[in-house]
């Protein structure tokens, strides 16, 4: 068997039927890790084999009664764990072992999941290609010359290459949705405050969301039903009860009665911001929209005029918070000094320090907060008439490794479709939508706050029709 052919759903089904053991899953993961992790630069730490097998043995004798019994999971290396070091992809934390575990990690362990390793990422989650990792870039599972997408780069490639059945990520401006789309995966950035951030190293606290990458919508809903909820250790978790995502999934058979919003602002802004959308990607995006129409959905044009300002707003607010959040790595604690900060982290620390400085605060931070409010209001208005908003994830498929290494601004611009969702604290789901050559691409569905069940239901209908997830990487 190869775990690449499984989803969480099918693995659980077989384990519960007695035709598969957790041990088999772990051994297959380890085999894939051994085979690919160095060449694709996927994982920064892997749990000891004997520990993993001991955990699997325990689960194999206990009846698979938990929601994720025996499911091997990879964590982005920004989730604090006591068992493995937590680097955030930065040399500053190269040898940092957290004395406590993130709430999400605890919940996953309690649900029976086995933490198999921790994934490479852009250092401190700064980036959209994975190339800002102080431990080197991660390759796309579908073409080793291309980037995995970031910042949750290793998390995406790990699922696609069969090193686990699901992974965790964080999404501050697209960091789950972009790598998911570059690796033919379903990636959810939940509503801000849906999943606890406690124990997850902060990038920009008011924008950070914690989510998952899986092969299918069902698997993603299953992961969220384990990790979502109020956490007494995170004051920003929403006081909203958790929906039954799994039953929500099968609540729709077609998309009749569903209205999908499409904003021409997205395409025009996308064209202006970058050198235009990749034409093949544009064609695939239109085809995907055609699928939604064919499934019965009504397409409605909506106005999101502040989209053009969202990027500037994001790149003021995000570095401001980054500059504060990275202040604690002062060289006194955690082993390494500030010299170990990479270029992108330094860039953001400097920008953020500037935008918060006396005399500049009003012009930058405060103005950005006002625009942020406008972006929120604009979405609120749109959701009065549509169920979800349809958008691309990225203006192009995976770039070549090194393609943008000397042009950080161009990379910032490629976040155009993902950052508005974080500014407004909404839910965004990235779904496989086909291939440009060897490279997979995704489309994005944006839902209002706390609308994850709706997003899953709509996505599930689309997934059943397209089944892109069945295309495995050729390795």
């Amino acid at each position: 068997m190869n775990i690449r052919d499984y989803t969480i759903q099918s693995a659980l089904k077989e384990m519960r039927a007695g035709t598969l053991r957790a041990k088999d899953l772990i051994l297959s993961c380890l085999e894939n890790i051994e085979r690919y992790t160095e060449t694709y630069n996927v994982l920064l730490s892997v749990a000891a084999k004997e520990d993993l097998l001991a955990e699997a043995k325990k689960i194999d004798s206990s009846g698979y009664d938990k929601p994720l019994s025996g499911i091997p999971i990879v964590l982005k290396d920004i989730f604090s764990t006591t068992s493995l070091r937590t680097t955030a992809g930065s040399k500053v934390l190269e040898n940092y072992h957290a004395p406590y575990e993130a709430t999400v990690v605890k919940k996953l362990r309690e649900a029976g999941a086995i933490i198999i390793g921790k994934a490479n990422q852009d250092a401190w989650a700064h980036g959209s290609t994975g190339e800002n990792s102080d431990f080197g870039p991660t390759s796309s599972a579908y073409d080793i010359k291309y980037v995995a997408g970031g910042s949750s780069s290793g998390s995406a490639t790990a699922v696609a290459l069969g090193m686990c059945l699901a992974s965790t990520g964080t999404d501050t401006g697209g960091s789950i949705r972009v790598p998911a789309s570059f690796n033919n995966l379903v990636g959810l950035k939940p509503t801000y405050g849906r999943v606890s951030r406690y124990g997850i190293i902060a990038m920009a606290s008011s924008l950070d969301s914690v989510g998952h990458m899986t092969k299918t919508v069902y698997d993603n809903a299953l992961m969220l039903s384990v990790t979502a909820g109020i956490d007494p250790y995170d004051a920003t978790t929403g006081q909203k009860s958790v929906s039954d995502y799994l039953s929500a999934i099968s609540s729709l058979q077609s998309l009749k009665g569903i209205t999908i919003g499409v904003s021409p602002d997205y395409l025009t802004v996308g064209k202006k911001a970058t050198d235009g959308m990749n034409p093949e990607l544009e064609k695939l995006t239109e085809e995907a929209l055609g699928v939604f129409t064919a499934l019965g959905a009504t397409i409605k044009e909506i106005d999101l005029p502040h989209t053009k300002d969202a990027l500037e707003t994001y790149y003021v607010l995000c570095p401001s918070e980054v500059s504060s959040n990275l202040g604690r790595y002062d060289g006194i604690r955690y082993g390494n000094t500030r010299d170990a900060f990479g270029l992108e982290a330094r860039r953001r620390i400097m920008i953020g320090t500037y935008t918060l400085s006396a005399g500049y605060y009003d012009a930058y931070y405060k103005t950005a907060q006002k625009v942020r409010t406008l972006v929120c209001q604009e979405f609120e208005k749109a959701f009065e008439t549509v169920d979800v908003v349809f958008a691309p994830v990225s203006p192009s498929p995976s770039p070549l490794i090194g393609e943008f290494v000397n042009d950080p601004l161009a990379l910032y611009l490629s976040d155009i479709y993902t950052v508005p969702v974080n500014l407004a604290g909404l839910a965004g789901l990235s779904l496989p939508a086909g291939f440009v050559g060897t490279l997979p691409v995704g489309i994005q569905l944006i839902g209002k706050q706390w609308s994850e069940e709706r997003l899953y239901a709509i996505s599930n209908v689309y997934e059943k029709k397209t089944e892109w997830y069945k295309r495995r990487p050729k390795v």
């Binding site: 957290a98 406690y198 124990g199 995170d234 504060s324 990275l326 918060l356």
Partner: protein, 463 residues
């Protein structure tokens, strides 16, 4: 003196909550083994998040209400960013532009002169704001293995700290002294902190500048205030506040008199040398890069919630003093002593009750007598009230003399002081005090003074 001091104060008070400001570690760190009361949150570990302590917020509002402040209906936390080894997150969670309470005031009394019982004046000190923040860790410099090292104790990190900021309303060191004692008293009455300076749970940072005397009038407008301000840090006793300010007044006077313009600066007070030392000039002024704390949602308070907190305010010193004067016929001098510490006031009132019940009723021990005993005899308040009243009662018995004895003493005194009696008759009323003194001497101090005086006058009239 040619200059009048213009002083404003920042007072930091650690609240006596059970747990810290943003985590559940115990807040009482005093005397505990270093780094035994900390967790990921107060150590500022990567990924840890603050969850605000409701009790500490309520106590800050409670204090704000007690000093007549306006309570914010909307408030929030902000990050104050700066580097220091005792600040593990690289920022302190504080409040910047939306403090919990604003525009309060406090009434202080101060003696016009050093003479006891001289006229007291009262003055209003305006409180600009009251806000809540977290305390930092503590650096300890020590020698380990023959090396000088700085160690950090994080037990104090994250302890709730209330900051009370006044307007620059003080014009003398005495006023400052009265104010800080008053603040301490109110805080203790509210039961929100021990406000103990020796333990570091109350810390004071005065800002002082000198104003040319020609401006000295009761209302100095903001624009007339000096253009500079010297802030003094690290003061941990009432005595040192006084000394540091006195030192600054002398230092600044000298500078101004020699024509030197004083710059904005931060100075530290050295207890050992009794001087202030420059720490930071204007050009090194910190830019704290305040911005709203994204990890904590903004707070909203309804009028209902504020009223509920207001209900928790027990009787404050001023009200207690007024009531004692009204109910027990005490003087302001008495009540100042009795209310100074809440436990004294409580002891006094319990004694009044005991004195009015059962066996003691007959002894006629008035509240005034009780007050005098408490004030003059430096009573140990740990004894029980019945025992205390018993002591008063027995001593009154010893002191009692019969009216006959008094009469015979008076008669004896009048007999041997013929001249004085003549003078009295001639209208020299004050002579009676001389005679009274002699009667007291004759009785060896026994007997009720008031009765003795009454009887003496009665006898004198007879002659």
């Amino acid at each position: 003196m040619k200059y009048t001091p213009i002083i404003g104060l920042e007072v930091h008070v650690e609240l006596g909550t059970t747990s810290k400001m943003f985590c559940s570690c115990p807040a009482d760190y005093f005397g505990k083994k270093p780094n035994t009361q900390c967790c990921p949150v107060c150590l500022g570990l990567p990924g840890a998040l603050p969850v605000p302590n409701k009790k500490a917020i309520e106590q800050t509002i409670l204090f704000g209400l007690a000093v007549h402040s306006t309570i914010a209906e909307e408030s929030k936390f902000d990050r104050k960013n700066y580097f220091y080894p005792d600040l593990p997150k690289g920022y302190q969670i504080s409040q910047y532009d939306e403090p919990l309470a604003m525009n309060g005031s406090i009434n202080i009394k101060y003696q016009m002169s050093k003479i006891k019982n001289s006229d007291q004046k009262s003055k209003i000190i305006r409180i600009r704001r009251v806000h809540i923040e977290e305390d930092t860790g503590k650096l300890q410099h020590m020698v380990v293995g023959g090396k000088n090292v700085a160690c950090i104790d994080f037990n104090r990190s994250g302890v709730p700290l209330m900051e009370i900021v006044t307007e620059p309303d003080f014009r003398s060191v005495d006023e400052v002294d009265q104010y800080v004692r008053r603040i301490q008293q109110i805080i203790r009455y509210l039961g929100i902190s021990g406000a103990d300076m020796e333990r570091g749970s109350m810390r004071i940072e005065p800002s002082i500048s000198l104003l040319d005397i020609k401006y000295q009038k009761s209302n100095i407008k903001d624009e007339e205030l000096p253009k500079y301000r010297v802030e003094i840090k690290n003061i941990n006793s009432f005595r040192f506040v006084r000394k540091a300010l006195e030192y600054e007044i002398v230092r600044q006077t000298r500078l101004l008199e020699s024509g030197v313009a004083i710059d904005q600066e931060t100075r530290g007070y050295s207890e050992t040398q009794n001087v202030t030392v420059s720490q930071r000039g204007k050009e090194d002024a910190m830019d704290y890069r305040y911005f709203p704390e994204p990890d904590i949602p903004p707070m909203r308070f309804t009028q209902d919630q504020i009223l509920k907190i207001k209900d928790q305010i027990s009787e404050l010193p001023d009200q207690k003093s007024e009531r004692f004067i009204r109910e027990y016929g005490l003087t302001e001098y008495d009540t100042d002593h009795l209310i100074d510490e809440l436990k004294t006031a409580v002891f006094f009132e319990k004694c009044v009750i005991v004195a009015n019940t059962g066996v003691f009723k007959k002894a006629n021990i008035t509240p005034k007598i009780i007050a005098n005993w408490i004030i003059n005899k430096k009573t140990d308040l740990s004894i029980n009230e019945s025992q205390f009243i018993q002591n008063i009662a027995s001593s009154l018995v010893v002191m009692t003399v019969s009216d006959e004895d008094i009469y015979s003493a008076i008669k004896h005194v009048l007999r041997v002081n013929v001249q004085a009696v003549e003078d009295f008759k001639a209208g020299k009323d004050q002579v009676k005090m001389f005679l009274f003194g002699n009667v007291i001497k004759e009785l060896k101090g026994k007997g009720d003074k008031q009765i003795i005086m009454e009887l003496l006058i009665k006898e004198l009239r007879k002659i």
